[in-house]
């Protein structure tokens, strides 16, 4: 199954179109927070922007932490979410090693479901919805997009 990756974040201009698209199309919200992908400016030695999004762990620590099976393991990495089962305990967000899960004020969790609907809204092709196996370097993924490397 395809996963969302962010191989070209150096190109990001900080328009937040991906987050807004995820909130709008997946979560039916107007927001740049309640989304499976969120953009932050990166200070320090690097400049530009970074994406906070699910890295498609398998097994996923958030699944192990979820007490109600609202989160279950997704084939290919990441989670399948059953909102009805969620009791808003916030354990998933605490368990996520990369801070990819956003909790709103009611502790409702928002996480990427790897649907790829944000991808066409990125004006600089920073994002990819791909079958590539995890662990491939961005350069290899880029080459693969250009048809030079067999996935």
């Amino acid at each position: 199954m395809k996963i969302l990756t962010t191989p070209r974040m150096e190109r990001c201009i900080g328009c937040h179109s991906c987050s807004l698209a995820c909130a709008r199309l997946v979560h039916k919200r107007l927001s740049w927070d309640t989304a499976g992908i969120r953009i932050k400016s990166s200070g320090g030695l690097s400049t530009g922007f970074e994406a906070r999004t699910c890295l498609a762990c398998d097994p996923a620590p958030c699944v192990a932490a979820c007490p109600t099976a609202a989160y279950s393991q997704r084939k290919g990495g990441g989670v399948v979410v059953r909102k009805k089962l969620c009791i808003r305990c916030g354990a998933c967000a605490k368990a996520c090693p990369v801070d990819a899960i956003y909790l709103d004020t009611a502790l409702e969790p928002y996480v990427c479901i790897h649907c790829g609907r944000c991808v066409p809204f990125c004006p600089h092709d920073c994002l990819e919805h791909t079958e590539l196996s995890r662990g491939a370097t961005p350069a290899i993924r880029e080459a693969a997009v250009d048809g030079e490397v067999e996935p």
Partner: protein, 579 residues
Amino acid sequence: MIREYFRVLSVDLSSGRKTITDIDGRDAVAGGSGLAAMLFEKYGTFDKLWDDPGQPLIFAIGPLTGYFPLMSKTVCAFKSPYHDQYAESHAGGRSALSLRFADYDALVITGRAKTPSALIVGSRQIEIKDVHYLWGTDLYSAGKVLRRVLPGSGHRTILRIGPAGERQSPMACINADSYRHFGRLGAGAVMGSKNLKAIMIHGDGSFPLPEGSEYVKVFDKVYKDMTDTDMMSKYHNLGTPGNVRVMNDLKALPIRNLQATADPATEGISGERFAEVALLRNAACAGCPVGCIHIGFVRERFREENRYIYRQISYDHELIFAVGSMLGVMDCFEVLKLIDVAERMGLDVMSPGVALAWATEALEKGIITEKETLVPLAFGNSASYQAALQHMAYGTNEFYQILSQSTAKAAERYGGGDFACALGQEMAGYATGEAFFVSQALGFRHSHLDAGGYSYDQKPKGKQVEDALKFLVNDEKGRVFLTSMVSCLFARGVYTDEVLGDCLKSVGYGTLADNMGKVSEDIQRLRWKLRVRSGYRPESVSIPQRFSEITTWKGQVDRQFMEALKAGYAQAILELAGV
């Protein structure tokens, strides 16, 4: 959030009182420019000076902010230190979306804080924080500390002032998120007068989508038009600096205090040249996939051995014109160095650049001496201008104190008014001819963005006063509706009346959509009414001699046509103001 009323947060820095008020008027004034004007009428005092603590500093967004692409600007309104009249200045960055997600249609700041302060605003927090330790710091240093000490990293805007704002220079800007500015007419001085070093708005709320499927459909269409068509390519390719070569080819680029309108040397500061050697990356305002912000770099050798630092500096046509061609500085890295100094000082770049161009010619002509200028100002001498910009920010001597108020005031004091390139305020980078000069001289913001006079000049329409008048009045009316939404004006090709109507309807503002024509006319009238009531006399505005001495691709500027158009436009403004 979609609602029929405005949710307005007012903060009184003197008493510390914070109030959230629901105010009616969505269908009458829409938001943005219209809302700001309505709020100034409510909170402002016409017969008191701009720096009276009671005067409001207003930030307003519109009904479509955050809902559609390029609805990404904030209108800032205030009584201006430049002319002590009602004024607006616009900026993007993350300011508009932050205010949207903090869930306020407008923020109104009155009073004067007891100590230098930062105002913190969010959907669940409002706080006035003492930051006396930042008073006197330049914009970069202040930014670094503010990012650390203010809560809510990421989805927030930080608006801040530098030394020029603290000294209350009418040329002081409010910097928004490092690369955007409420640049002109002295909004930075208003913050300074309120003892307010910074405003942080945390966009930490979220809202349900408008009901029905229409919104998502309209969004997709608008997004496609913004990104798929060629309409926006000039903004994300070279960006506005592409205008440098275009204007130069038209003999319409102001050069060396408008002593020339074309010079092959300007190739050194063309958008193409910048892109080739100095462009580091692009950035966008939040909510805009176009990404017109062009960021260049300067590096500075600080030791004999090869030790360097570098800085990232955003550049645009107006800045390149003001501290490039206008000052005879024809090297893009030298231009970036000048922008960098102005940025650090919290100065608007345009006004000081044009003011220094006047000062250079005044020095050449012997009207002033180096006793006044302190440094040997000379066209092309970037090092002198870098020093002079700091003198302007700090008001080192009487000359710089006056010059940093306005070129017109300096000319009044020292002479040389004939070659002061001021059109209501220091000119913008388009010497296209009569319609533009009149439009900026009399226009509401004294900006090239008030109406497309520069574009009218480029159309082969002849010199019919009536026709030009009609264009200026109608074009302003269209733009004032866009700045009430609040759209970036670069999107005006996409946001036609029909598209705007669809957008408004799709989120539930059907009444507003059905009355767009009348509402824009009313907002246009309201703004002029406030401006005139605060002391504006359009009939007394004059256009300095220099503007009729130039030659463009159309030939010599026609003074008679320009004066007739000016008189007609002044009359039209008074009629709009109901005088």
